[in-house]
Assembly symmetry: C3
Homo-oligomer: 443 residues x 3
Amino acid sequence: MTGDRAFSGEDIYALSARLFPLHRSIMGNGVRETHNVLRSVVPELVTKEIPSGTRCFDWVIPDEWNLTDAYIADMSGRRVIDIQNSNLHVMSYSPAMDAVLSRDVLMEHIVSLPEMPDAIPFMTSYFDDRWAFCVTERQRESLNEDRYRVVIKATLEPGSMTYGEILIPGRETKEILVHTYTCHPSMGNNETSGMAVAAYLARSIIDMSDRRYSYRIVFAPETIGAVAYISKNLDDLRTSTIAGFVMTCVGDDRAWSFMPARHADTLPERAARHVLTKILKVPFQTFSYLERGSDERQYCAPGVGLPVVSIMRSKYGTYPEYHTSLDDMTVLSPAGLWGGYQATRLAIDVIECNETLVSTVICEPWLSPRGLRAPLRDGKFLDDFSRKVSDLMAFSDGTMDLLAIADRVDASLFDLLPVVEILKDQGLLEPVEEPKSASRQAP
Amino acid sequence: MTGDRAFSGEDIYALSARLFPLHRSIMGNGVRETHNVLRSVVPELVTKEIPSGTRCFDWVIPDEWNLTDAYIADMSGRRVIDIQNSNLHVMSYSPAMDAVLSRDVLMEHIVSLPEMPDAIPFMTSYFDDRWAFCVTERQRESLNEDRYRVVIKATLEPGSMTYGEILIPGRETKEILVHTYTCHPSMGNNETSGMAVAAYLARSIIDMSDRRYSYRIVFAPETIGAVAYISKNLDDLRTSTIAGFVMTCVGDDRAWSFMPARHADTLPERAARHVLTKILKVPFQTFSYLERGSDERQYCAPGVGLPVVSIMRSKYGTYPEYHTSLDDMTVLSPAGLWGGYQATRLAIDVIECNETLVSTVICEPWLSPRGLRAPLRDGKFLDDFSRKVSDLMAFSDGTMDLLAIADRVDASLFDLLPVVEILKDQGLLEPVEEPKSASRQAP
Amino acid sequence: MTGDRAFSGEDIYALSARLFPLHRSIMGNGVRETHNVLRSVVPELVTKEIPSGTRCFDWVIPDEWNLTDAYIADMSGRRVIDIQNSNLHVMSYSPAMDAVLSRDVLMEHIVSLPEMPDAIPFMTSYFDDRWAFCVTERQRESLNEDRYRVVIKATLEPGSMTYGEILIPGRETKEILVHTYTCHPSMGNNETSGMAVAAYLARSIIDMSDRRYSYRIVFAPETIGAVAYISKNLDDLRTSTIAGFVMTCVGDDRAWSFMPARHADTLPERAARHVLTKILKVPFQTFSYLERGSDERQYCAPGVGLPVVSIMRSKYGTYPEYHTSLDDMTVLSPAGLWGGYQATRLAIDVIECNETLVSTVICEPWLSPRGLRAPLRDGKFLDDFSRKVSDLMAFSDGTMDLLAIADRVDASLFDLLPVVEILKDQGLLEPVEEPKSASRQAP
């Protein structure tokens, strides 16, 4: 299913590149433009708005902040720091201002990274009446005049929070969730990679000729957007979700990383581990839920308790460019994005194919009259096909799903599937009603 | 119980040697002669026949194949390959023929092992209309004339499959199963060792003065015989079997091997491990159920699900002579066979002795007035007897059986038993109704 | 709570020193004097007596033995072994005698330790009509005259066994048990350390301004005293005890040791491990229940099954002076005793503070309007306070208690508590009715 390549890593990279320059925050027009760009790949994306002031569980949707210009100019009027050069220069939700400040006062509102002199740090302060400019250390050092004019042209007014979803029906009402966030300004691995890969995941799922499960693809600002989305869909999510994937940091080519759900051994964890170890066969680092940091924090929270994991490339917080202007399009690569896409896509395929079967015969079946036995045996070792037949019949007792059997026999689930099909055609295996592995733990 | 040595390893070896030359296949007169030889040790063996055409679960009993002569002769009439020299020369169920064939055609039906030039491979093809001669690589190389006469004098006609059982009643109806197969022609470790040891196990069990459990000793061709036997006895087996042992590869003196049941930690697995580690104290290799290969495949299959294991010497598939003419009587030794006998016999003894006890007192018992305390204590360390008393009383809470306690305290169960008897006599321990360890898992 | 230091290690040492010279056995006036000394610290100690002949489960309280004098004199009347020099010279419960014995006969009743020539061994024989003198190897070697006069002035008459308890009510009826023994004559680590630390534990618990749990502090002779105490209080103990600590070997400064209960992972085990690893952060040796040796033998026995552990310094049986006259006040130190006190006191504090909480919100709470968020975030890493808030909210799902969460996030429970208080004050966390961790396993 992943082999069709109706699109490529280059396509995902190109979408990332289009999303990169937009000035996103948790709310505002940058997010709406982002949705418009996403719709070029998935016109099925339904964009929704939640008004400022709406209560979502413990949270309230804040006012909408839109920035039109911002700069620091010397007294001659020359812009020494200019938002046109980087969306990261102004801390999100900084209030409008136009003031001449002494260097000392200005410096209290300047943030830089002395240990990374060419990087502009990414700062947020959504819920406080604070302002700051984020600059490189070299820029900070060059601010050595006595006074500067500081201009922020921004509005903070009641508006709405923008999010989007794509609901894709399948044969079953049980759902697989894909979630990504849309709130960071110009950053690559930790922003546009997730959106771009999620969009192409949605594209590929919509284009599947047959879907067993239903799908829910969500684009929302991190944290408050996930909270709001869950608050509007809690019953559906808790009733239907058998597995979820938060798409974040899926764009570079330096590492593979896995973040489990709060509960151990969930279905998406089992699928993800199977993909990484038995199908992609790549080395990867498993993080602890103690190192969580994206929207699994909401989906796995007490009261929600969904099985939601992340398969990542270089995880947030672990690579040097993280949350700085250096996390730009050079950090991403078509191969990195394709890997990020492929891993979750394969995990979804694994879950689509997974089922719990039970042998219809007692003891082993008689293979010879069914043509399922290599005609001449050397009597020592079973050939690979016969071994798969034997293992599938030996372990299909109605309690182990195919994923568990594949792990048990150290095989790729996809390598077992053709044999499964033959055994089902022969009437030797049949599905049991409710696959146990799909059951969820208490929230 | 194993110390009586009413027989010895030499006796088991002698029985193996008598069974070795018989020309067995899955059905036919060779099997019947085998039963007659077995009856010299266990006249209690009841031989039964299942007619060709009988359906057994997914299988149908095939026609009976009997071979009276087979050879390859050169055109001068000299037999260059002759069944008289090795029962392995003709693949089982090769159809009758008498034809002069070109060397090229003949070679398509010649099987040899280039990497073992002096070994005749063992080949079977019970359910296909194929023929083959199995020869040494040196013999194959010497077949360099243009034409040969190939003669197979065999009948393939409706008949019956021969198997046998010995049912030995005990005080309880719960049963211990011993199963071995009877279908390989002249091979040692992977055929006659199992039958010879199983026969002497039956002999020793019948001769026990007191038996707690009932026993079921089965001699049947591998795979189809086990399937047929289970099909005729499924309810009894599932109701009664608390432990089973497949006797195979129990005759050489090079290794100890253990094959668990499909389910983990079954009673026979616990007993076998205890025997190997705490009683015989021999190094052994534990194989995975993925490496199964004998009739545990049927007894542990979905729909049957019995706790059946194998304690072996050199496991099938792991030693160089396996499934060739080199697996002959020189591979076996009286010591190897005695070890193979002893291990399963001890595991049976462990299960016979095992029970779940519960302390009749609250807190520790008062040992001094019972004479259970060494009179003068140095106050530092308990003597060995007092330590056993203390441990048995400390852990007998009605949930741990004696086998579990023996493993917990790193002692042989047999070393605990005299102390158990004293504590029972003193009224300090008493059995609980249903030992939990005897419970079986779902099939 | 342990920081108030209303007393010090020196105070505990001083109490040990006062208890040291008293001539204790399992019964008799030495025990009563011991209780009088203990009352100087805990006047709340209620001393009770159980008459000789009373049946306690499997045991019967024996007669009371009181020794007034004992010596071995040479024929000139010079005392060569004299009880005045060491309470260990006479084996407990040696009957009264006054006889002149040949050296050979005497030697059958002389016990010494050749490998420790300056140590008097400690011997007991409570329930046999035997006598012995325990002497140093050097003393034994000096007994080279032909005849000696042996005098033991002792009474063995119906009396009573002395024990004591302090019941300290708390807000809840569930109890924490502290038990120590009172039956060894002049020894330090393996006797007076336990009593002295238990007395000061009682003192500190009584002086707590607020107690959640009720407490039961028991002073009784080892083994028979514990059996008798349990026999009189079994229902209460089984109904109320959530954790227990046997105080023994808590006085030297050479090691830390831990003895678990018979069942794994009990509440006191979890608390003790947390104290040793996360609070005191000391290396310690975990012993197996196979190496048990004090009154956990009774409290954990079948039919009782309480969660009772020991946090020790150098465990009984592991240090060279154990059960000899060399286990004297020089083995103890104020620092060692304070450590012994502190470890169990902290474990009690951990249990007092432990509870199972559940988040009152769905998803993460909104921290900013509650002032629970550092105002300016560098966007990369949570500060320590925010991390604790996040973890407490993420894991408080009503199934993990605070102790489990502290272990999960590798923090001291005490470091989490201030944050817990804030979250409770904010209404974000609330307790669930019955903490699961406090549940006991079957006896």
